[in-house]
Symmetry: C2
Subunit: 203 residues, 2 copies
Amino acid sequence: MIEFWYEFGSTYSYPAAMRVERLAAEAGVVVEWRPFLLGPLMHAQQGLTDSPFNAFPIKGEYMWRDLQRVCDQEGLPLVHPSQFPRNGLLAARVAICGLEDGWTPAFSRAVYQANFVEDQDISRPEVLAPLIASVGAGPDEILALAATESIKSRLKDHVRQAQERGLFGAPSFVTADGELFWGNDRLEQALAWAVRHQDSEQA
Amino acid sequence: MIEFWYEFGSTYSYPAAMRVERLAAEAGVVVEWRPFLLGPLMHAQQGLTDSPFNAFPIKGEYMWRDLQRVCDQEGLPLVHPSQFPRNGLLAARVAICGLEDGWTPAFSRAVYQANFVEDQDISRPEVLAPLIASVGAGPDEILALAATESIKSRLKDHVRQAQERGLFGAPSFVTADGELFWGNDRLEQALAWAVRHQDSEQA
């Protein structure tokens, strides 16, 4: 088992979301999708009120170039969004709604596609509605559910759990024995760790 | 050709310095060692007066764990230095002194060994003297040379060049066609890029 912690506004979470199920299946590892919000952590830990890639333009310029190379290598399309970062709050709540029925992974990939390929504003319900429909759920019902205290509370729980695990960025991976890996470029190592330490999972 | 930009206080520069010549030789790429100082860049770009790994402890805690995993995978010993980051100014000046005679790589690896394995204070001339001797140079002569305006000026040139290339962290790699790669974990990609774009180098 591996926990995949991701934020819909996060650039490197995009290739991670597109890669994680394939690589995990090859390794024989089950993925638990954990949508969360990075903003509260970055504010609490580093005092940031914007993405560090905006706050420090020289890091942002490099990030977009590096992300382009990463996506090129994976054969993933990438269009620099006209707005960055986009607010992933509603999308994260919707993603929580799909955890029991199992459509969270497909919905999440669709949201990344909308944000980083089709340059759509994923904070808007009318953008998310067709993505919800595309995974076989009912947009009206799910958007209403996403607005309930129960779902809001579950997302808050995810943010709290992320803090407890020592997360400070996205994507992050946590293995059953609590080992933390940060970044799309650590996915392979995280999976290898999960395979090597499966005993502790069964204990 | 690939430029290898490194800072002696930088943790991830340690495994990069230990790996770069072997991997570059396998790829048929020549390495140009470029010692520089990261502090002035981090201050100018992000307002930092200390390592971000100290300024933001949650990132520091992760970094040391991740570095341990990286070193374990490479079979490199690692001892958490009792002081971090150590001042690499004098070591960088000495490293500049060795560029013409070709002992900069061996000396630089020795400095990383002193800092990150033997927990020695690499800011002190008496620590650097035996390292200079170990690469076949004269410690008294080189330490005197390192204190000259000529060498100080060359290190300042390196820092200026690093800024011009868009660097913001260490280690970094720059190919002949100006492509920037940041981080020990980008070394393989930087070398692959250098091999694929050798035409532009000859142009």
